[in-house]
Symmetry: C2
Subunit: 224 residues, 2 copies
DNA sequence: ACAAATCGATAGTAACACTATTAATTTTGC
DNA sequence: GCAAAATTAATAGTGTTACTATCGATTTGT
């Protein structure tokens, strides 16, 4: 796993960036520090000026890589879902039983993400904290339909579709597979958020994990 | 229902406003037009200056009612959840069977909201569109813990708790009641959003409703 | 009738979200 | 090895946002 990922460039939608940050040291630096800075101060308080200072460069250099901070967040989200998709495909490869594949898939999209030490400039654990806190803002804009048309959400949709197809293999008659999967994927982010900030809205604690909750939920739902 | 609501002032957290908008014509105007304006241009593009012009007043007058636009959104959200809670309490009153109560409750928090013609200055249908599009932004800020401590989310938490207690009546051994309810309430908003903007992630269409999906989901989940 | 509250209008500030220009440095293509 | 091309850092500038402060004019309460 570790070695594989370090040799494979995860696919991110071209239109999210002006210049590919993977092609230069400054670009990788920018990605690494933007993840740390957004995590520290939150997306609302994050600006390209602050990021420029942080990487000991300046605002105008950041603008050469990304149009604006929304596109940067789109890039980070796109990378994150691509990373999960890769792990899902890898972990379910060659497993015949769709019920086993489903359980593995649920685990990957609902468990807390740990840092994968091989992608040097991206701390996956911190990136997942950003996704938990900020991903909803990627979609909830007035430009969502336009951006959807341009394909910005393809990777996210493909990840959803993969799990939908496993469910349809198990029970082709269950009529809400798409809604169930999108509920689980975005719900899992939300449960991690609630267990940290609004505990009374969540049953998750040291004894009960997000994965257990959703595994139980899906298993019981699709059998009928 | 209609007559009752028009005589009862829904409780909204005091700290969300500087001056209660319900106490003046300008205030009610401000609420009515802010709902329409946020719906039209989105919360990111919404400013107090634009709102001031729209109500033929000005920026500084709006600031006399709300500290900033985040607090205004908090007020609208607080009002919305209070409205749903009221409808839920009213609709489940005097019904003994908890399974029936649960089904009614699920319907109220997952169905599309129609305009209640009695609150003259608030269009509930449009307000619910705003909540679907923007509610996640109310919570996903760096100030969430502070605001939670100050009680800004009490109404939302109380609504969740009401449904949790119905589930615990039906099955006291189900270990994930809080997570299930918060998944359903925020998931329902998300499903409405997806069915409008990212259809492939949702199973909802003219033949299948959000309520049916969640009723099926909850029923099957809590029985085991 | 008088005081207090409310409102509309204007002005001002710091930060944000960019765009444009330029000069220095680095990379590359031959 | 060198000229051309690309990249970068730095500066300046513009319009907008998110406020704060002040000040008369009007309305309201007693």
């Amino acid at each position: 796993m570790r070695e594989l990922i370090s040799n494979i460039r995860l696919q991110v939608h071209q239109k999210t960036f002006v210049k590919d940050p993977e092609t230069s040291e400054l670009g990788k630096n920018l990605i690494r520090e933007s993840i740390l800075l957004i995590d520290e101060i939150g997306f609302e308080n994050f600006t390209f000026k602050k990021l420029g200072e942080r990487i000991k460069s300046n605002e105008s250099s950041v603008y050469r890589y990304f149009e604006n901070k929304h596109k940067l967040l789109l890039y980070l989200a796109s990378w994150y879902w691509s990373y999960l998709e890769y792990r899902l495909v890898f972990a379910t490869n060659n497993i015949e039983d769709p019920c086993v594949r489903l359980k593995i898939a649920i685990g990957i999209v609902t468990e807390k993400v740990l840092d994968d030490t091989d992608t040097a400039h991206i701390n996956e654990a911190i990136l997942s904290r950003i996704i938990i806190a900020e991903f909803s803002k990627v979609m909830h804009t007035k430009e969502v339909d336009q951006e959807n048309k341009e394909g910005f959400f393809l990777i996210y949709k493909r990840l959803n579709a993969r799990i939908v197809s496993i469910i349809k293999e198990i029970n082709p008659n269950y009529p809400f597979a798409e809604s169930l999967v999108s509920t689980v994927i975005s719900g899992a982010l939300h449960q991690h958020f609630l267990s940290e900030h609004l505990e009374s809205l969540s049953s998750i604690d040291s004894g009960k994990s997000v994965s257990e909750f959703y595994t139980h939920l899906i298993t019981n739902t699709i059998q009928n």
